[in-house]
């Protein structure tokens, strides 16, 4: 035993060291730009069938124009780090739209070209930046819209990514339910504040059960980023503004849209009278101002928090129904950002002994239900961890007579097949998400269910790393845009359950903001071939894959040199032959002369 100890220690140390040595191995770069051909790996999200199958369709289409793509299904844990480090050449997956088209800033501004920022494609263009900066400061929505169309046009000329399609939203309800509102992103989504207060059952059932695949990860509206946490937040809390079916802003707790000063730096909200918290306390403008101050002070990470933190300078409540907000700069979506934040009660959240930070421990609602007080259509009633969350209707909600149901239950059911069965059996009335593509036909064919259809917020795109050759060549990007058949991609990638996006801001989702005359790249493989030929990407070795411009140019140069060398050889031979003939003729002539 004594003899074995140093060896044991050595082995142990070696084991530890080996784990540390593996760290640099794990951080090695995955992607190297191609050296000779137009041949690259393309990342797609492995768990998202649509991303994978769309990627396969794209690979086949690009093969026809001489570009070879290898589809690499990648897991989240590897995909995102590579995107952040720009360790890729081309990728295809979906990015989300929010309620207002702030993505036109996040996806195209140079300031967002950084790790974990808004864009993953290294796109930098000073002219585009200037237009975007101006658009962000324009409080007049019509003028801002024209500037956005300019951004869309410039983006289309430069093609930092190819927009493909918006996923479809199919929502299944038990047929006895009615009153829900169908709008972009579906009848049950955080954009849609109308469905839950308006829905009712023609069979007289008073509790509405929604199935989730997982619980909300937080009950704090300040920390809510996932769809399920936001759905909880919007049931229990209220916002100043909301959206109608066309995604236009409408007043919600406010009496109207906010008033702006002439310089656009002061906005004033007027609250409806008689608003109350679930514990009976009145909701005043003080709570509104407190909410925004809290967001900034705590650097909250909720959905709109960043926009608020960027713009909010100070605020005051001259009276109970008036909230005045001072912005650092005029901001085009100030109404949207401030109007979308869930208002929290000052008399509860200012007690830091009770709520120390914005992402508080979930189990607090069990030990102290006061933390769940909001002003929304439903009140927190009970929670069995891992099973269900029970909300009851708020009898003093500001829309009298609503909600029309007595109880709202969020129920955790892990698999889609179990959720569909539960809906058909009647244990559950709907589910939180769009029906998964594999189940859409079954849901439609079921006699107990009704399926709604609209456009979802998932925007599938084919993105390039604009700094990585050959994707730094705009003609390559344009050629690929022409070479992709978006209709076929929808058919193969999304089983037909998608809407093609012609521009960078889809009109199907944002009817007000979309560019009416976008610059598009209709499917034209001949044009794609022509562009690549003209730009010098030719297939030299006849394997069906085009070589890179530099390789072709180098090859051509070599060929020219060879030709020149040959020419020189021929000339040399010709010269020698001529000299020999002349000398020969001269000699013959001399001989003749002698004789």
């Amino acid at each position: 035993m004594k003899k074995k100890t140093p060896i044991g220690v050595a082995l142990f140390a070696l084991l530890l060291l080996s784990t540390l040595l593996a760290i640099p191995l794990g951080r090695a770069a995955w992607y190297t730009p191609p050296k000779d051909k137009l041949k690259f790996p393309m990342m797609v999200l492995s768990w998202d069938d649509w991303s994978v199958h769309s990627g396969e369709a794209i690979a086949e289409q690009l093969k026809k124009v001489g570009i070879s793509i290898e589809v690499v299904p990648t897991d989240d844990s590897a995909m995102y780090p590579r995107l952040y480090d720009r360790d890729y050449g081309i990728e295809e997956m979906s990015y989300g739209y929010s309620a207002y088209p702030s993505h036109m800033f996040y996806r195209f501004h140079s300031s967002q070209d950084c790790a974990q920022c808004g864009q993953d494609w290294s796109f930098r263009n000073a002219t585009v930046d200037a237009v975007i900066d101006e658009m962000l400061k324009t409080t007049d929505k019509e003028k801002a819209r024209e500037l956005m169309w300019k951004v869309d046009q410039m983006a289309a000329e430069s093609v930092p990514y190819v927009p493909l399609f918006l996923a479809d939203e199919y929502h299944a309800f038990r047929k006895e339910w009615t009153g829900y509102t169908v709008m972009p992103a579906g009848p049950i989504s955080y954009l849609n504040t109308h469905t839950l207060p308006d829905i009712y059952s023609t069979a007289g059932k008073k509790d509405f059960v929604i199935a989730f695949n997982n619980e909300p990860e937080t009950f704090s509206p300040m920390a809510a980023t996932s769809g399920r946490a936001l759905l909880y937040s919007m049931s229990v809390y209220d916002t100043l503004l909301a959206y109608d079916e066309k995604l236009n802003l409408i007043p919600w707790m406010a009496t109207g849209l906010p008033e702006f000063s002439s310089d656009g730096k002061t906005m004033t909200f007027y609250l409806k009278p008689g608003l109350k918290w679930h514990d009976g306390q009145p909701l005043t403008a003080k709570d509104v101002i407190f909410t925004f101050q809290y967001t900034v002070a705590q650097s909250a990470t909720g959905q709109w928090a960043y926009d608020i933190i960027k713009s909010f300078d100070s605020g005051e409540a001259p009276d109970d129904l008036t909230a005045v907000i001072h912005l650092k700069e005029p901001y085009v979506w100030a109404s949207e950002a401030f109007g979308a934040q869930y208002i929290i009660p000052e008399h509860i959240w200012s007690q830091t002994s009770l709520i120390p930070k914005y992402d508080w421990d979930q189990t607090l609602v069990e030990s102290n239900p006061k933390v769940a007080v909001g002003s929304g259509p439903f009140m927190f009633s009970g929670w069995v961890p891992g099973e269900y969350i029970k909300l009851v209707k708020n009898p003093s909600w500001w829309t009298t007579g609503h909600p029309l149901i007595d109880t709202l239950i969020f129920r955790k059911i892990d698999t889609e097949s179990a959720r569909i069965l539960a809906m058909q059996k009647g244990e559950v009335d709907t589910e939180r998400y769009s029906v998964e593509p594999a189940f859409v036909e079954q849901a439609k064919a079921s006699s107990e269910l009704v399926v709604t259809h609209t456009v979802d917020q998932w925007d599938y795109i084919l993105a390039f790393n604009n700094k990585s050759p050959p994707f730094d060549d705009v003609w390559v990007r344009r050629a690929i845009a022409y070479a992709t058949d978006k209709d076929e991609i929808v058919k193969r990638g999304a089983l037909g359950y998608g809407t093609v996006t012609p521009s960078y801001c889809s009109g199907a989702f944002f009817p007000f903001w979309a560019n009416p005359n976008p610059l598009t790249y209709p499917y034209d493989p001949d044009k794609a071939n022509k562009i690549l030929d003209e730009q010098g990407y030719l297939d030299i070795d006849g394997d069906g894959i085009r070589e890179l411009k530099q390789v072709v140019a180098a090859y051509k140069e070599k060929q020219q040199e060879q030709q020149q060398a040959q020419m020189t050889q021929y000339l040399a031979f010709a010269a020698i032959a001529v000299i020999v003939i002349i000398v020969g003729l001269y000699l013959v002539y001399r001989r003749r002369k002698k004789a």
Partner: protein, 325 residues
């Protein structure tokens, strides 16, 4: 005297293994590729300053050895850290809550019942070797053992949950359940447990059955079995007092290994039946890169396995007088 030495040696080696597990547990998650801060700061619109604050909150900006010391310190105080995914909620409360209870009850009962059935039926089948009973039970075991667990579970849900309506489709208790005493609650809970319990028991029983049967057949070749028969003991006495006792020894080691399974082995079943348990937690934590939860689970599992193995060693020492070293 010899027994005490044996126990001390075993105990010391258990402690060393535990220490190793604690160290490896920490470093293992740090060498994985990928950014642990992704879950924490998942929203891309978070300002870089806010991200720095969050990273500091979770202590991810400290050098590695400092993080390790903090980790050890917290571990000794029973603080397993704060979850990345369930923001703000302590890992200890996530693990040592309803999930652990649900998984233990489900797995514990399924393994126990499967063990008992496997042992008893395995013994009888070995005795009645080559008979119709033997052939039928072997085929049944192989079929149920090879079936994918989730498929069996989904089938049970479809037939008994949807078409016949005799078991619920999901969950551990009924929604909005009101009960006046613990028995009503238990009845509802057990009703919900029927589906996953049957699925798991069916999937385990084949394994124990075959091993037990083989073990008994091995024992039949021993000399003392011939002696017992020669002594004129009844069939039942030979079978249950001599054969089964000796054949059960390998099962003891098996049970020690099953303890890990007790903790995290029912992931698929838990998903299919929406049974709120640890298996499902492990899966979610892996997908969401929730390192503190994974670390917490691994440490608890390590402690459990090491303890179970230690107990198995002691049990062996008592059961088998030949074991002494």
């Amino acid at each position: 005297m010899v027994m005490r030495d044996y126990l001390l040696k075993r105990g010391a080696s258990a402690l060393v293994t535990l220490g190793l597990a604690v160290v490896l547990n920490f470093f293992l998650f740090r060498i994985m590729p990928g950014d642990p801060t992704r879950t924490v700061v998942g929203d891309f619109r978070v300002a870089p300053e806010a991200r720095k604050i969050l990273i500091h909150q979770f202590g991810l900006d400290q050098p590695l050895w400092v993080q390790f010391l903090l980790y050890l310190q917290n571990l000794l105080m029973g603080n397993l850290g704060v979850s990345f995914q369930y923001r703000g909620t302590a890992v200890a409360s996530i693990i040592f809550g309803r999930r652990l209870f649900n998984t233990f009850i489900l797995m514990g009962s399924s393994i126990a019942v499967a063990l008992i059935i496997g042992i008893v039926v395995g013994t009888i089948a070995a005795w009645k070797r080559e008979s119709k009973f033997d052939v039928f039970t072997v085929i049944f075991s192989l079929v149920t053992y090879s079936m994918p667990v989730f498929w069996l579970g989904m089938l049970i849900i479809l037939v008994f949950g949807y078409y016949l309506g005799s078991i619920p489709i999901a969950g551990t208790i009924s929604v909005g359940l009101t009960y006046s005493n613990i028995f009503e609650y238990a009845a509802d809970y057990l009703h919900h447990m029927t589906g996953p319990f049957v699925t798991l028991t069916l999937s385990f029983v084949g394994y124990y059955f075959i091993i037990m049967r083989d073990s008994i057949l091995d024992v039949f070749t021993e000399d003392y079995m011939l002696t017992a028969k020669a002594k004129g003991l009844s069939d039942r006495k030979i079978l249950f007092r001599h054969a089964m006792r000796n054949a059960t020894l390998p099962m003891v080691s098996l049970i020690a290994v099953e303890v890990t399974y007790l903790f995290g082995g029912a992931t698929m079943t838990e998903t299919v039946f929406s049974w709120y348990g640890i298996g499902r937690l492990i899966y979610e934590a892996v997908v969401m890169a929730d390192y503190p939860v994974l670390q917490g689970i691994f440490i608890v599992m390590a402690v459990l396995v090491i303890t179970a193995n230690f107990c198995a060693d002691i049990a062996y020492a008592f059961l088998d007088p030949r074991i002494r070293y």
